[in-house]
């Protein structure tokens, strides 16, 4: 039985390579058919903002990579509802259909479900 791994992604997409590098761990795990979850927390929820214009700050758009997650077998996708609300994002209009928005009280149980956790 493979150990499950939760990646907690806390960086905005424009704040450096952190968001991309967190996502790369998730995609690599998916490619190896490992049980992987991804939680967007704090500024990480900005990765889910619709209508991003990454090219305006000479960045590559991560959105397309996020859409590929279910294709890589990564279906455990979560966002912290409080982080979403604090940043003025609409939880019903996030840029990833499969993401489940969780209340802060649910995060502990989520993290508990996974064998290992990486926060980036």
């Amino acid at each position: 039985m493979a150990q499950s791994l939760l990646i907690i992604s806390r960086q905005a997409p424009w704040s450096g390579p952190g968001a991309r590098e967190a996502l790369d761990i998730v995609l690599a795990g998916g490619a190896f058919d490992l049980p992987i979850g991804l939680l967007f927390l704090d500024d990480g929820v900005f990765q889910l903002a619709p209508g991003q214009k990454a090219a305006a700050v000479q960045q590559k758009d991560l959105s397309a990579n996020l859409q590929a997650l279910p294709l890589f077998g990564v279906e455990q996708l979560f966002a912290c509802g409080a982080s979403v609300a604090e940043r003025g994002l609409d939880p019903a209009a996030l840029n990833l259909d499969e993401v489940q928005v969780l209340a802060p009280a649910e995060l502990g149980a989520l993290i508990d479900r996974f064998d290992q956790v990486i926060t980036l």
Partner: protein, 140 residues
């Protein structure tokens, strides 16, 4: 003592480092790794990712009156013959290149050498699967 407790005492650790060489968390990672081996535990792999790749650079020059963490890591990994893996994508992005990659990308400088090895994120996942615990240092 409860049954099973003794067998759980010795653990296999995977250690991931995400912070730069001068960050306090990098020093704590080395201290943890040293303590783990001193306690009879096993380190299945060290995996340096994000700014952690800088700790494997041969080109960091530390002032004489400060702890030379990259040298301490190198000696520690060599002495205990550990598996020290530096993520290749994160390293290339930050200018940490071994002989092979410097030649591949036609760069004039090489700053990564044995005992460090450049490899992919699969090595992180492999270490997670092989270990009882993944211990991460650094990160936001």
């Amino acid at each position: 003592m409860a049954p099973g407790l003794q067998t759980e005492f010795y653990m296999k650790f995977a250690i991931a480092l995400f912070s730069a060489a001068h960050a306090p968390s990098s020093r704590r990672a080395l201290a943890f790794a040293q303590a783990a081996l001193a306690g009879g535990h096993e380190i299945v792999r060290l995996f340096f990712y994000q700014d952690g790749v800088h700790s494997a650079s041969d080109n960091i020059v530390t002032p004489q009156d400060e702890a030379d963490l990259p040298a301490q890591w190198r000696n520690f990994v060599s002495e205990h013959q550990l598996d020290g893996v530096v993520c290749i994508a994160a390293a290339l992005r930050r200018g940490v290149l071994n002989q092979e990659e410097a030649a591949r990308y036609q760069r004039p400088a090489v700053n990564l050498s044995a005992p460090w090895e450049l490899s992919g994120l699969g090595q992180l996942h492999d270490a997670v699967q092989a270990a009882d615990r993944l211990i991460c240092f650094g990160g936001p």
